[in-house]
């Protein structure tokens, strides 16, 4: 197990190196430059001074090596846009995104598991067909669109929930206030995941019901409920975990859209701002940190996978 963990961590490090190098090449191959230099009013003197201050007047290989070596020392540099240390800037935002993503996953699971189990056990019934159609349609709606409509109707028209932000500024922090701000973005983020999960749970449950080892269990006189709980659920859990693992990287990036709609101070939005402003260190810093988060999450999911399916434990 420890050896496996070590190997996985090493692989993770390689992944991170590939990702950062690719990002470095990508942003420097692109046209344009840091947004602070975009002001047409700047004179040549100021341009030179700013380029020197940002360190972008050095040759690219030097910049690359300097960045890699300071990253190894845990220093991700300073943001061009905000002039703050990258690590601090990103760590300020990361928890907000993780909160959103985690709650969305939980909400999606809470909806998808019961629905999936229920309809999976009743293939071909009207309710099964209804859920399948609803799912199909839900997956076809652009999520940001759903978010805007929800925002305009629930917040701007009905004044039921806040129209954005993480909490009401200028008042005592309260749990209820936080929850009210969370409802819409979490719902919007969870909606497509729930649809995807229901789809998988439904087919996984259907297959688990037809699995050969169920017949002896039934023959031993276990009731359908008991069978459902102990055998079906566990077997269905594997594909669900796989799907979840696939969703995480998409979610962390995809949160950018939700965060923009709801003015949520997360990483996704920070990433969009950084890319738009050509904030090289911030773009690279976010990529490293997001990739590291995803690598770690996948590792955890891997362990969960092994726990759920004893057969995988022997594999390397």
């Amino acid at each position: 197990m420890l050896r496996l963990l070590g190997a996985r961590l090493l692989q993770g490090a390689i992944v991170l190196w590939i990702v950062t190098t690719a990002t470095f090449v990508l942003i420097h191959a692109a046209p344009g430059g840091p947004a602070v230099l975009a002001d047409p009013k700047l004179s040549a003197v100021e341009r030179t001074a700013i380029e020197h201050q940002l360190g972008i007047d050095r040759p690219l290989p030097v910049q690359y090596l300097a960045w890699q070596s300071s990253m190894l020392r845990g220093d991700l540099g300073r943001s061009f846009l905000y002039q703050t240390p990258i690590l601090e800037t990103v760590l300020n935002r990361l928890p907000n995104t993780l909160l959103l993503v985690a709650l969305a996953l939980i909400a999606a699971l809470a909806l998808a598991l019961p629905v999936g189990l229920y309809v999976g056990a009743r293939p071909g019934t009207p309710i099964d067909r209804f859920v399948a159609t609803a799912n199909f349609t839900a997956l076809a709606i652009p999520p940001f669109w759903f978010g805007i409509i929800a925002l305009l109707i629930v917040a701007a028209q009905w004044h039921l929930l806040p129209a954005g932000g993480m909490m009401t500024p200028g008042v005592e922090i309260s749990v209820i206030d936080r929850i009210r701000h969370l409802i819409l973005p979490v719902a919007v983020l969870a909606f497509p995941i729930a649809a995807e999960l229901i789809r998988f749970t439904r087919s996984a449950v259907r297959e688990a019901w037809t699995a050969p080892h169920l017949a002896p269990a039934m023959a031993r006189g276990l009731g359908a409920r008991a069978v459902s709980r102990s055998h079906v659920l566990r077997n269905a859990l594997l594909p669900i975990l796989t799907v979840l693992g696939l969703q995480v990287p998409m979610l962390v990036g995809g949160a950018a859209v939700t965060e923009t709609v709801f003015a949520w101070p997360g990483m996704g939005r920070l990433g969009v701002e950084a890319a738009l402003g050509r904030d090289y260190p911030l773009v690279m810093g976010i990529t490293v940190i997001v990739a590291a988060t995803v690598v770690l999450t996948n590792l955890l999911l891997d362990l969960a996978y092994r726990w759920a399916d004893p057969r995988v434990r022997t594999e390397g």
Binding site: F136, L139, A140, I148, P249, G253, V257, L276, T287, V294
Partner: protein, 260 residues
């Protein structure tokens, strides 16, 4: 299976065939008549710049369908090749491609997509390549899993024993059996690409105006949502229909693979 292509074909006919008889310039603006309702001159009204909505839905559809399908094809090609290589018997090759696949899976693809498109701009080519090269991973996984099981079948073992080269074995004996799976996977890819284009447009990063795409039409409609909801409903509906049409193809391919 063939019948499942019908809805998508109809949408394509609308987008590519429509402009042949409906010859209004989709980029011509009429500042005196913005956000107009339906009229004889503009059967579906005009948008915020006074451009004809029907004409834009057609040319926008060309862009959205093209981006969706081409990005799906790119993802399919890359995914199939990587997936096949990952099952190669050559130990080095399969290990290297498997690690590459793992690496690509760990990357937050939408974020990379965002960065790429922000940096290089929203031309059709950039979008196709960027969306395609961030969507191939699930296809590669599928191909790897399926061909691992396929290659243990008797006829494959026989073909190999007869001394056929591995590429030929893959092409003649494994690939044909993969087709339904691939169609299903590709349809998911196309659907995702259509949605990705619209999401990028929302962030101001998709196909660049004045070229229309369903995605940027939706975005433009946001400003006038309460006065002119139809501006949002038409492109939104077409996106939903396209994704449904593409998924229908996938679903029928999936069912066929079960039957076979």
């Amino acid at each position: 299976m063939k019948r499942s292509f019908l809805p998508l074909a109809l949408l394509a006919l609308f987008a590519f065939g429509g402009p042949i008889w409906y010859r209004i310039d989709p980029t011509a603006i009429d500042l005196g008549r913005t956000v107009a309702e339906m009229s004889r001159a503009h059967p579906l009204g005009t948008d915020e710049s006074g451009r004809d909505v029907l004409a834009r839905l057609m040319t926008g559809g060309q862009v959205s369908l093209l981006v969706g399908i081409l990005a799906g094809v790119v993802a399919l090609l890359v995914g199939t090749i990587v997936g096949a290589l990952a099952t190669a018997r050559h130990p080095w090759l399969s290990a290297a491609t498997s690690r590459l696949l793992d690496a690509a899976m760990a990357v937050p693809s939408f974020f990379i997509l965002l960065v790429t498109v922000t940096l290089f701009g929203g031309s059709t080519t950039t979008l196709v390549l960027a969306i395609g090269s961030t969507a191939w991973m699930s296809i590669a996984r599928l191909v790897r899993a399926e061909s691992l099981s396929l290659r243990e079948r008797d006829y494959v073992t026989v073909a190999r024993a007869l001394g056929q080269p591995p590429v030929a074995v893959f092409r003649r004996h494994i690939l044909p059996h993969l087709v339904p799976t691939l169609v299903a996977a590709a349809s998911v890819g196309v659907a995702q690409a259509v949605l990705a284009e619209s999401a990028l447009s929302f962030l101001g990063l998709g196909i660049e105006p004045p070229t229309a795409s369903w995605g940027n039409m939706l975005t433009g409609a946001q400003q006038n949502l309460s006065q002119a909801p139809w501006l949002a409903i038409y492109p939104g509906l077409l996106i939903v229909l396209t994704v449904l049409a593409v998924n229908a193809i996938g679903e029928s391919a999936h069912l066929r693979s079960r039957v076979a």
